[in-house]
């Protein structure tokens, strides 16, 4: 009896039960959901895609590790999967012909400026992969807009363009050379290595939604806003503007809406905040594509709305149970 009484038990604050799902579980679920996209990119662009993805991941992991060492932080977050996601996502937004040293620089910027300069995991404002890509696009505009066809396309490389570039600069609708929707769906088109196959991106999206790793409001909000916006103009003048389905499948919208804009750290927490954020992104993509100087606007739209996330969180507080209506 006395001996038992001497045992002192552990005390801690409630709750004493915990769901066994931690940050690495979420991150590796995202990695798994990216596998179909990675597979599609390798299928269409072969070794070029594989080399870009591996280089980018190595660059991100190395940068993360070195900065954590310099900051005297534990190396845990190196293995939580977040740097691998940044590396993969960055690679997926790069053109297949990009040289690997530029890929490496992109990774350094993504992690160094996009993530660690803000304080590391959880503290960054902008999506790190898109920060890396924005840097490359600004610093190396030619390399970043030189496209190569997939291994299945037999086309003249000199005049080769992405479906959106073709739409914007070659009057594709009038000439009747607009990329068919079927090609856009399967991905046998030019573009960044991870954005071409709509079907692979949608499979990834279903995995993420079913495991509740992304907020459904974000992809739904972006895609429906873009459809409505481009749909209005298409109904007004179908000879000048492409259909909303074309806009949903072409370019980086699906990659952006499913994998980039949904990044937990850089998207709002509140439901209303997420709606505004998603609608904003969809609207800006539409405006840039239809009226801007660039054929594509997903990256800038997401980065732009990222900047509003702290404000959105502050001003979209949900009403709690029993709160009086004002």
């Amino acid at each position: 009896m006395n001996q038992k009484e001497e045992k002192i038990f552990i005390i801690q604050s409630s709750p004493h039960l915990k769901e066994e799902e931690f940050i690495p579980h979420i991150m590796y679920t995202v990695v798994i959901s990216l596998i179909p996209v990675i597979a599609a990119s390798i299928y269409f662009f072969r070794m070029k895609a594989l080399a870009i993805i591996i280089t980018s991941i190595i660059s991100c992991l190395t940068t993360e590790g070195i900065i954590l060492l310099i900051r005297k932080k534990p190396l845990n977050s190196l293995w939580d999967g977040s740097a691998i996601i940044t590396g993969t996502l960055l690679a997926l937004t790069l053109p297949p012909s990009l040289s690997l040293d530029l890929v490496f620089i992109g990774g350094v910027i993504a992690i160094g400026i996009g993530k660690q300069a803000f304080g590391g995991l959880g503290y960054n404002i902008f999506n790190p992969a898109l920060v890396g890509r924005a840097f490359l696009q600004t610093a190396f505009p030619v390399a970043m807009t030189t496209w190569t066809p997939t291994v299945f396309q037999k086309v003249d490389i000199a005049t080769f363009a992405t479906p959106l570039g073709n739409l914007k600069f070659n009057q594709a609708i009038i000439k009747g050379t607009l990329t068919p929707l079927k090609e856009l769906f399967w991905g046998n088109i030019g573009g960044c290595i991870g954005e071409t196959s709509a079907v692979a991106l949608l499979i990834g999206g279903i995995i993420l939604l079913s495991r509740k790793c992304i907020d459904w409001r974000i992809p739904i909000g972006i895609l429906s806003t873009l459809s409505i916006f481009t749909g209005i103009f298409w109904l007004i003048n179908p000879n000048k503007y492409a259909s909303p389905i074309f806009h949903l499948l072409a370019g980086g919208v699906l990659l952006g809406a499913i994998f980039m804009a949904t990044d937990m750290v850089t998207s709002p927490i509140t439901p209303m905040g997420n709606w505004i954020y998603a609608i904003g992104i969809g609207l800006f993509i539409g405006i840039i594509r239809l009226f801007g100087g660039l054929p594509e606007g997903v990256m800038f739209s997401i980065l732009f709305m990222n900047a509003f996330v702290p404000l959105l969180n502050q001003y979209t507080r949900p009403r709690y149970l029993g709160e009086k209506k004002k």
Binding site: I11, E19, I26, I269
Partner: protein, 440 residues
């Protein structure tokens, strides 16, 4: 299809393994009180009771030994017959030291006043019922220990139409209420009838989570002879038994923030409390014993036990075959809201629903918030816990108040789902007490 429509619930909350299998079919066993009984004078919400006995006094079962004088207080009764060894401070499940009456049990089990059986309890007036409930020292036995007499006596401008008998027992591991419903359905339903009379309500709803199918069946069968009583199964989801969520699930009424169930015409009573009310009024029995579930992976023979208030946890655990070697933590209450105990030398009190021995504890490795929003998605009160944590951390207490921090019920859903393992509940608790000070 019909059953889906009937399954009522509330937004938010978590699906958590219920761990009830160890004790759900264990009939209630009786533990004879040991030699030493420690009865704290503060077992309830509100002011402590004042001692009516001193060292050397003889006491009997059911004798009032502490008087709750304030409006928010409750009387305390002796649970054994014997001699008062001391009136002194003692370990309390809350983690504090509380003035307690320490009694040496003489083992005679003599009652203070036995012949109080009432022929027709239903003929009492509301005031008489409330008076008897107060005299019996009854408090909410679900965990919050709110003085029941206060709950039965709402302000005259707040008419009550519905009584909810809370049989959810949504905390994992616990089966005390479940067993009471299976073994004493009549007492509970009659107790509910008395609550109805006391509050002049019109109908009674018994809400039971659908993982307790035996209790639902038995309560439904017995409720047939109580025309104003309806048994409604609820979805098994934590915290279904939280007062405000239960009211919403059953009646779609929202208790205003900062308000009480009175404000929407409802009184909620736990099934254990309801049985205690019946016992107090029909048998004149004060609240001096209760059913406790002793379970968890660290207990050798998990049981549901009828225990005298003041029994030491050590004795209860010995009665249940003792502890396994690898027991790391002892929790009084449920695992989601209960309080961890450093020692077994602590008494069972009126609100002790369970004693849980855990062999593993959650990791304490905290990571930065990745703003996944899961805490907000699962908060049954519609709050944003990560924001409340951050505002508390940075001292923005007015902001925290605006974000509704005082509405937190500390159910622990946010922390349960948090992938970054942030001690959200502890932060919010800190914030709540700071904000309440600020408001004063």
């Amino acid at each position: 299809m019909w059953s889906i429509l009937r399954k009522r619930s509330f937004p938010g909350g978590i699906h958590v393994r219920d761990y009830k299998e160890q004790t759900e079919s264990q009939p209630i066993e009786i533990l004879n009180p040991g030699e030493k009984i420690v009865i704290p004078l503060h077992q309830h919400f509100g002011a402590p009771a004042e001692p009516l006995v001193k060292k050397g006094d003889e006491v009997k079962i059911g004798q009032k030994i502490g008087e709750g004088k304030a409006r928010f207080s409750a009387h305390v009764h002796s649970s054994v017959s014997g001699k008062v060894k001391a009136v002194d401070y003692y370990n309390h499940p809350s983690g504090q030291f509380v003035l307690s009456v320490i009694i040496e049990n003489d083992g005679q089990n003599t009652f203070y006043d036995k012949n109080k059986e009432l022929k027709d309890p239903f003929s009492l007036s509301p005031q008489q019922i409330i008076e008897k409930v107060k005299e019996a020292g009854i408090v909410g036995m679900g965990g919050a220990a709110f003085p029941t007499a206060v709950k039965l006596n709402p302000p005259p401008n707040k008419p009550i139409d519905t009584i909810i008998i809370n049989g959810c027992e949504c905390e994992p591991f616990l089966n005390a209420d479940n067993r009471l419903m299976i073994e004493y359905p009549e007492d509970i339903l009659k107790g509910a009838e008395l609550i109805k009379i006391a509050t002049r309500a019109k109908k009674i709803i018994v809400g039971i989570e659908d993982n307790k199918s035996d209790a639902i069946k038995i309560m439904e069968a017995h409720s047939k002879s109580f025309p104003s009583t309806q048994v409604i199964p609820l979805k098994t989801k934590y915290p279904q038994g939280a007062e405000k969520n239960l009211i919403f699930a059953l009646l779609r009424r929202k208790v205003p923030a900062g308000g009480l169930p009175f404000d929407v015409g409802v009184v909620v009573q736990n099934v254990g409390t309801t049985k205690a009310i019946w016992d107090a009024i029909s048998k004149g029995k004060p609240l001096y014993e209760r059913v406790v579930t002793i379970t968890g992976p660290g207990i050798i023979k998990p049981k549901n036990v009828l225990v005298r208030i003041g029994t030491l946890v050590q004795e209860l655990i010995d009665f249940c075959g003792g502890l396994k070697e690898d027991t790391k933590m002892i929790v009084i209450g449920g695992p989601m809201m209960g309080i961890a105990q450093w020692s077994l030398d602590v008494p069972v009190i009126k609100a002790t629903s369970g004693i849980i021995a855990l062999t593993s504890i959650p990791l304490d490795y905290e990571q930065p918030c990745i703003r996944c929003g899961r805490c907000a998605e699962h908060c049954p009160m519609g709050l944003v816990p990560t924001q409340l944590m951050r505002l508390t951390k940075f001292g923005k207490l007015n902001e925290a108040d605006k974000w509704g921090i005082l509405n937190c019920v500390e159910c622990g859903c946010c922390e349960f789902v948090c992938p970054a393992n942030i001690p959200l509940v502890h932060w919010i608790r800190t914030g709540k007490s700071k904000v309440s000070l600020l408001r004063k």
